[in-house]
């Protein structure tokens, strides 16, 4: 059930000649789509890497009014259908939207540009970093920090040398999960982007367009590329997770 479709895709691609595969994979539109997809996803997940750690930090280490609401809201991108997310982000950040109109005078256009794609990616991958870092932060023992303070470390030193190291596997795992989700995202991005080749066309949308035109070969080749990326990400995530488990079990 799970494997059969994957085999079908790979064998379909394998049936094409290598020359065809190469031509389709390196088509300028495809190359630009990969570029837009991967680089925007990298920027977006890097932002989330930092912002997600900050959010997890704030949620674990402080009590403040509204904390439970924010904690619950973090899962919103997880539970919200991607089409709804795309719709509302596109409206709010459009030039006449609530937030878009604030940014328009500064010359910053978000909807229908690569920035919009990045925003959608930040939206949908935010929970991954926060939810992987939160438990690890929670389990850190306060005594370790207090020992560091006793020994004269400043707050920044304590953070950098005592708190941050155990968090690194979790942060990287969360970023990898978010990246793999962002790269494959379709629903929210297709609504917020103009889907113009060479500008903000991402690979999943390109696959969809090829399918609409019944270009099965084109869709299959690009789909296989995306599939290989997905499998690679899965492998990296598994390695990161087992690294993280090994580190956190050291006495």
């Amino acid at each position: 059930m799970l494997l059969l479709p994957i085999l079908a895709l790979i064998s379909f691609t394998a049936n094409l000649t290598w020359a065809e595969i190469w031509r389709i994979t390196t088509h300028p539109v495809a190359l630009s789509a990969y570029r837009v997809t991967f680089f925007t996803a990298i920027y977006a997940t890097s932002i989330n890497g930092i912002a997600g750690v900050a959010v997890a930090w704030v949620l674990v280490r402080y009590r403040f009014p509204g904390k439970e609401i924010i904690d619950g809201a973090i899962d919103l991108p997880f539970a919200l259908p991607t089409a709804v997310a795309g719709l509302t982000l596109a409206t709010v950040y459009a030039e006449n939207g609530w937030l878009g109109s604030l940014l328009a005078p500064l010359g910053i256009k978000i909807a229908f540009t690569r920035l919009g794609v990045g925003l959608a990616m930040v939206f949908i991958s935010l929970p991954f970093v926060v939810r992987t870092v939160q438990p690890v932060l929670q389990e850190l023992e306060p005594e370790l920090e207090e020992v560091a303070w006793c020994m004269g470390a400043s707050r920044w030193q304590t953070f950098r040398r005592v708190i941050l190291p155990p968090l690194i596997p979790a942060i990287l795992t969360g970023v990898a999960l978010g990246f793999s989700r962002a790269v494959g995202e379709y629903g929210s991005i297709v609504i917020i982007a103009g889907n113009i080749p060479f500008q903000d066309l991402i690979a999943p949308v390109l696959i969809f367009q090829r399918l609409e035109q019944f270009d099965y070969a084109g869709a299959a080749v690009i789909g296989t590329v995306m599939l290989l990326v997905s499998l690679g990400s899965l492998l990296i995530i598994n390695c990161l997770q087992s690294w993280g488990n090994r580190i956190n079990q050291r006495p």
């Binding site: 900050a54 009590r63 709804v84 795309g86 925003l119 789909g223 997905s230």
Partner: protein, 288 residues
């Protein structure tokens, strides 16, 4: 500043440390908390609030007209029907797989674990593409299906398959850790007291995993109602025939029927909200 003397609304009184032995937060920490609240507000809350605003822009009558239109009703019915099939299938698959992995050693066990996580990392469009290549006219099963006059693509069965694929991991992933944590003692005790396999499962195993199972069902339900990419590819998105609610949202948006689009979005968004609330409740139950 003495914490007892500053006013109730002062940030340093509102924001308190929660873990270590600090008594008061520094200015930097106040700024950090405020920055995080702003960030979450801009990225999450404002768009979420906008869903409700957009739906009721034309007042209650605009909203009710949109949700009683035949296209909306058909889309809602379709989404619910798919959901009604996908959730039980996922539950059965998830429990069987989790039981197999947790309770037995067999060659390929770790491989099976990784395969379960596959739908998480594959793009939904690629999922749809794979199904098209499998069941389409040029696909492996295409000719066989055509001669039997069974339509999978651009019809209900294909959409169910697409949704089932992307929802497969949830139940298995939630139930597996619970099964491993609970261990086999209770099951073995039941066996020594003469229970057969089904009785052991129904009366010992199942109740012990019920909260994780419910959590998995909740996530499966949310995902299957909201699935967009895979269903969009497989269904052909024919309005009134093979259009689910998320596809309806996009179609209305593209046709500039904003109220209709937002009304459907509000319905889906409320479902998400309910999902989040239940999620919080179940999380508390799970860790008890």
């Amino acid at each position: 500043m003495n914490p007892k003397n500053i006013g109730y609304l002062h940030p340093k009184k509102l924001i308190q440390p929660a873990q270590n032995s600090q008594t008061q937060v520094s200015n930097f920490e106040v700024a950090l908390v405020v920055a995080v609240i702003l960030f979450v507000g801009l990225v999450l809350f404002v768009p979420a609030a906008n869903i409700f605003v957009g739906a009721f822009r034309n007042g209650w009558s605009g909203f009710s007209r949109a949700v009683t239109s035949p296209e909306f009703l058909h889309a809602a019915k379709l989404s619910l029907m798919i959901d009604a099939i996908v959730v039980p299938v996922s539950v059965i698959f998830g429990i069987v797989t989790a039981l197999a992995i947790a309770r037995h050693q067999f060659p390929g066990r770790t491989l099976l674990l990784s395969i379960i996580d596959l739908p998480f990392s594959i793009s939904p469009v690629v999922v749809g593409l794979m199904l098209v290549l499998l069941y389409g006219r040029q696909g492996w099963f295409g000719p066989a299906l055509e001669s039997a006059n069974i339509r999978i693509l651009f019809a209900f069965p294909g959409m169910v398959l697409a949704s089932a694929f992307v929802c497969m991991p949830f139940v298995a992933r939630e139930v597996l850790p619970a099964l491993e944590e609970i261990g086999t003692e209770q099951e073995e005790a039941a066996k020594t007291m003469g229970a057969n396999d089904w009785q052991t499962f129904w009366r010992v195993t199942l109740p012990s995993i019920r909260w994780s199972l419910l959590y998995g069902i909740l996530l499966t339900n949310a995902r299957s109602m909201g699935e967009f990419g895979a269903v969009a590819v497989v269904s052909g998105n024919i309005i009134g025939k093979t259009q689910t609610l998320p596809l309806f949202v996009e179609e209305m948006h593209v046709q500039y029927q904003t109220t209709a689009s937002y009304s459907a979005a509000v319905v889906l968004g409320s479902l998400s909200f309910v999902t989040l609330v239940f999620k919080k409740l179940l999380e508390a139950k799970k860790t008890k």
